[in-house]
Symmetry: C2
Subunit: 236 residues, 2 copies
DNA sequence: CGTTATATTGAGATAGATCAACCTGGGTGG
DNA sequence: CCACCCAGGTTGATCTATCTCAATATAACG
């Protein structure tokens, strides 16, 4: 667990507060205060952080690693809603209302999180309106993303959906390299399929087609290089 | 346009401030202050309130009537994202960030709205943290709704989607009557179809099936009576 | 280097899209 | 007050893209 509320420079660096966007407007003193409210935890790859339906009492901020938020659908599949990474937070629905978690959260890799109790975070937001604003901004960004997703899922054109998800990943995880944008995929073919409401076979086929057309190149199962972003975006 | 910033009781009643959830924690004095910041407008049925891509400078709160928020998809169809009604607000994405409107908003019936300039609203949120909280709550509710929608759209089972949308409308617009929950549909078959990513024919067929099974009854084109909510919800 | 999980590819079944014809309800004018 | 009109809705027949099931290939990892 490491140190929980120590404010020394050494520990700070391990703490979320410094690198988390929602605290970006805070000065050193405020950061120290925030740090004292934080409880840190580590999760191993594959560990469940939150179970759908559970009541959580804290806002969870990701310090390092990646987390997938998903639901088990009535059809028995696992529908991924978000991939959270460093600096993202979740549990926002429990922050103000007393809602149970609407999804499961599972560490995709070894992950460090910081939790702040809802009451403490509410207190902070009361004192620092900028913090509220940052949270709202992020909520709006999520709305924008979900609205886009819904639009592309309403689409009959399946290629479009596959392209969209690749563009989305590229924007979020892409690393520019000489050959093109390199994406470290946050999920398996099956994960992608469930993310956009298709079967893994269809995703596979569509991606193979994109490769044949030299729009993308697949490197192993977890990496994709986008060779021609323009053509990929053409119908998104 | 009526009176814009008058604070007399008479005008108050026409103003949003009193009946809008986000201002529900405000006392009389605060309401008066809010009222003075509001600019009221009326729109006729079918009028466009906001055009996708336009920069809006104000938060829009619906005082009376209904508004559909939609986008034109790349396939040339109209995808409805939200149906807003009395007390709902939109333009939240322009409130803090300088984002252009992500959707069109059109009055579904004669509609009265109140607008508050973003700067003024920000000021209010700074002063009254409760207001921020109310806005956040609503944003969270929208996230919940969109997450649900995405899950149901990821579903291969189409009946499920039709049932879901009927349950959603029932919860939002349902009026209990002896025969069952009566829903005044906010959109045409085509609208519903686009809302859940199907064709109007398929929606028609699925609804006819539901009627054959005595789960719903259709009255004309704009009204549906839910006769057996349990069976409708069975697989949602 | 072998074993297991994951991804690809192929062939066939099927649900929903598409195209087309027909019906209905609610509004209008004679 | 009735007949007519027309947008929107329903129903039917086909077509096609994706799902499903199955076999095979490839990657990941100890």
């Amino acid at each position: 667990m490491g140190c929980n509320s120590c404010a020394c420079e050494n520990c700070h660096n391990k703490m979320c507060s410094k690198r988390v966007p929602i605290f970006s407007s805070f000065n050193q003193e405020e950061i120290t205060r925030v740090s004292s409210l934080i409880v840190r935890r580590e999760y191993k790859k594959g560990e469940l952080i939150i179970l759908e339906g559970a009541g959580i009492e804290s806002l969870v901020i990701i310090n390092s690693g990646r987390v997938k938020a998903y639901r088990n659908t009535s059809e028995g599949r696992e529908h991924i809603l978000y991939i959270f990474s460093e600096g993202d937070f979740f549990g926002e629905k429990n922050l103000l209302q007393n809602k149970a978690a609407t999804y499961n959260a599972e560490a995709l890799e070894d992950t460090g999180i910081c939790t702040i109790h809802r009451k403490a975070f509410q207190e902070l937001m009361r004192e620092y309106p900028e913090l509220s604003f940052k949270v709202m901004e992020e909520l709006c960004n999520r709305l924008v993303r979900l609205e886009k997703t819904i639009e592309s899922m309403g689409t009959r054109n399946v290629e479009l959906r596959v392209n969209s998800v690749l563009v989305e990943f590229a924007e979020k995880y892409g690393r520019a390299e000489p050959r093109g944008l390199v994406i470290e995929l946050p999920m398996s073919r099956e994960g992608i399929a469930n993310y956009i409401g298709l079967t893994r076979e269809t995703v596979s086929r569509k991606m193979s087609l994109l490769q044949e057309e030299h729009i993308i190149e697949m490197v192993g199962n977890k990496k994709v290089i986008i060779l021609d972003m323009n053509r990929l975006k053409e119908n998104v």
